[in-house]
Structure formats: C-alpha cells, structure tokens
Amino acid sequence: MFASFDFDVIRRSLPYLFLDGMTFTLMLTGLAGLGGLVFGTLIALMRLSGLKLLGRIAGLYVDLMRSLPLVLVIFWFYFLVPYIGQWLTGASRPIHVGAFASSLITFILFEAAYFSEIMRAGIQSISKGQPAAAQALGLTYSQTMRYVVLPQAFRNMLPVLLTQTIVLFQDTSLVYVVSITDFLGAASNVAQRDGRLVEMYLFAAVIYFVISCFASFGVRRLQARIAYVH
C-alpha cells in the first residue's frame, strides 16, 4: 500500500513547509500564548477584584468565549477585525488587516479566556496569609500582585499553562478555515497542487505528533521538578 508513496514530494516542499508554514505556526503559537497570558491574567484579576461589575463583565467574557467553537470565533474575527480597525482609526472604509495580524488577535482573545481560568486557579492557590502579610508590610494592591502573588501563581501554574500552549499549538491549524498558510495550510497547498494528499497529510500528522509529544514530555519533566508553593 506504500508502493506508490512519493517521499520526493515531501523533500521538495520541505523549505516551503518549514520556512513559510511552520514559522507562521510557531510565531502565532508563541505570540498568542504570550498575549493570551497577559490578557488572561488581567481578566483573572478583574474576576478576583471584588468589584461586582468588573467581575461580572470578565465572567461573561470568559463564559462566552468558552461556549463557542474556535472555528466560529475565527470566522467572527476574520470579518470583524477590519471593521474594528475602521472604528478605531476613523477610516472611511473597513481597513485591510493581514492574515497574521487577524489570526493573532483572534487567538489572543480566544486563549485569554482559557488562560484566565488557569491564572485564577493559580492566584487562588496562594494562601490568603501572603497578600495579608504584604499589605501589613505596606505594599499597595498592585505591588502585592506584582511582587508577591503573581510570580508564585505563575510558577505553580506553569505546567498547566504550557499544556494549554501545546493545545494552542495544535489549534492554530484551524486557521485553515480562512485559507491562511500555516504549517497544515502549506502541506495542504502542496497536497492539492501535486495530488499527493496521502504523503502530505501523513507527514503533517507526524510532525505535529513529534513536536507535541516532545513538548508534553518536557512539561511532564518540569512538573516533577518544580516545587508547588502555597
């Protein structure tokens, strides 16, 4: 069944697959992970702020994002971002936003909902005595968060955050639905151009599998090594 398997089509398209496709996928994963973490931490702080209205808004945002399929959210932002850009810049027509910027905004806003739940658990894992002690020492709220709570919350949740980033890495393949050339998109382009679906899709599967396996193996080692603080 592998008699007609054409390894050469893979070899010929390697530069395109990795320099164009995988670079896009990894950049999107990295930047969306960072952006999602920052934005997600802000949402978590809003939910835990004790201010009713702020907490309610943050909660609604998280619930909304987590109830919707990522594919639908990608479509939403793909069409919405040009209009938001028009509104922000006061331009006369919807502005043109590149594929990378559009998908980056989508993934940051979507992942923020998931990261915020992780950071919320992380912040709640720090015993109440610590912020109390920080306030007794005269630290302000932002200093307490900045120097005492968040660094420990982040460290406690690092394995979970990284696992979520692996999920994000796999989910970036869904930009396929708006014809953006990420790694899978590149493989699919070659597959359809050369009529080599079997080779290209199996190769893409192997690459995703190897990267995700190594990454989750690394996370497991990290989990065993870092000490959990309360």
């Binding site: 594919v71 796999q170 393949s173 639905v177 199996l202």
Partner: protein
C-alpha cells in the same frame, strides 16, 4: 462605507429552496447535535475501556492505554479528520477505498468517528483519574471479599468513578459539541458551516454568525442544566458534597 444591518434576513428564503435562512441554521444545529451525540457515544465507549486499561495491574494493558491516549492527543483534530477522510481510503485495498469514497453521508460518519476517537482519549484520561481518585481500600476490600478483577471494576470501582467524574465529563461533552465545527473542513454543513453558507449567500456576515452564536449558547445552557440534574440524581450520598 458602513455595514448594512438586516436582521430580517433570517426570515428571507434561502437559495437552497427549502425554507428561510433560519431553517438553514436550524438544520445545521440539528446536524451538530446528531454528530456530537454519535461522537459522544464512541468517545464514552472507547474512553471507558482505555481508561480502565490504564489502571489495570497488567503492565501491557496500561502501556496500550498510554500509547492510545498519546496517539490521539498529540495531533490536531483537523489533521486527524483529514487522515480519516482523505488518507484512509487511499491506504485501504482498492475496493474498500472505493466503497468508503462512495458512501453516502461520508462527512457525517467521518466526523462522528474521528471526533469520537479524538475525544475518547480525553474521556480515558478522566476515567483513569476517577478510578485512581478512589481510596485504595476499595480495591483491596473487593479483592479480600473474593471478587475477581472484572467484578471489582463492575461492582465497586466503576459505579463510583463514573459518578465522581460527571462534572469533567460534562465539559468533555461540551468540547465534543464545539469540536463538531471542525468538520466544516471536510464538508459537513453543521451549525458553523450553515452560518458560513448563509454569510456567503446573503452577505449578511454578522447576522449569520450572531445566529450561530446564539444557538451554540442555547445548546450550552441546555447541556449544563441537564447535566446538573443528572449529577444531582447520581451523586453518591455523603461522598460528593451536593454542589
């Protein structure tokens, strides 16, 4: 140039000729529900078996369980669906491949099985976690009473484990519903696909996606409320705090 809102679009006839755009979205919703139920049955069945295997004393069984979970967890769902849909028919003997390609409703069956197997790995992890969360004494007591391993699982461990993991299973079921939208890539016109089609025919982008968003939210609410009743009905008295 600003966007022209037209909320009446839902009641205008769709080009499919079988009703309004609203009917089109509802047909998509029905397909989403059918696909996710079919997938969920597969996920529960395979997930339970593999989850049990991961907790068995046999080294081989738990290794097979481990490999199964890692295999399905480390590839994007989209890639898995492509493999089932585009690659599998080519790798099978010619006659079988032809049969698969000509099968009616191929996107539906591919999506249900593909998403079912993808989710089964996550159900397996939850099942194993549920079994491992039980006090060791339960397994030991069952053995002391003379129960075989199969009886221990059937009468002691699984009835408890499944009731403990009801809340995470609810999230996994919700994830299954959301994941059916990935099947848009293999041509399944489920809810997201229907909204996309409506957008392409009517050019009313935001109305179409708002319609789909509202329907997804409704499905979520129904599932969460139903599962809360089920959780309460199945709660082990005195074991799980009535939450």
């Amino acid at each position: 140039m600003s966007y022209h809102w037209n909320w009446h679009i839902f009641f205008e006839p769709s080009p499919s000729g079988t009703g309004t755009y609203l009917d089109m979205l509802l047909a998509g919703l029905l397909l989403t529900i059918e696909t996710s139920l079919f997938a969920w049955i597969i996920a529960l069945a395979f997930g339970a078996v593999v989850g049990v295997m991961r907790t068995l004393p046999s080294k081989t069984a738990s290794l097979i369980g481990f490999v199964y979970v890692e295999f399905f967890r480390n590839m994007p769902l989209l890639v898995q669906l492509f493999i089932w849909f585009f690659v599998l028919p080519e790798l099978l003997p010619h006659a079988w491949g032809l049969w698969l390609k000509q099968m009616p409703h191929a996107p539906f069956y591919t999506a249900a099985i593909g998403i079912g197997l993808f989710m089964s790995a996550r159900v397996a992890v939850q099942t194993a976690a549920g079994i491992n969360s039980l006090p060791r004494g339960q397994r030991l007591a069952a053995t002391a009473l003379g129960l075989t391993t199969a009886q221990t699982y059937r009468y002691v461990l699984l009835p408890m484990a499944f009731r403990i993991i009801m809340p995470p299973l609810t999230s996994e079921f919700l994830a299954t519903i959301k994941n059916t939208s990935v099947a848009i890539t293999i041509g399944l016109i489920e809810l997201t696909g229907a909204a996309r089609a409506m957008q392409e025919f009517s050019f009313q982008v935001f109305e179409a996606f708002t319609g789909a968003t509202v329907l997804y939210l409704l499905v979520n609410i129904v599932v969460v409320v139903a599962m809360r009743f089920l959780e309460r009905a199945l709660a082990v008295p005195g074991y799980i705090s009535g939450k």
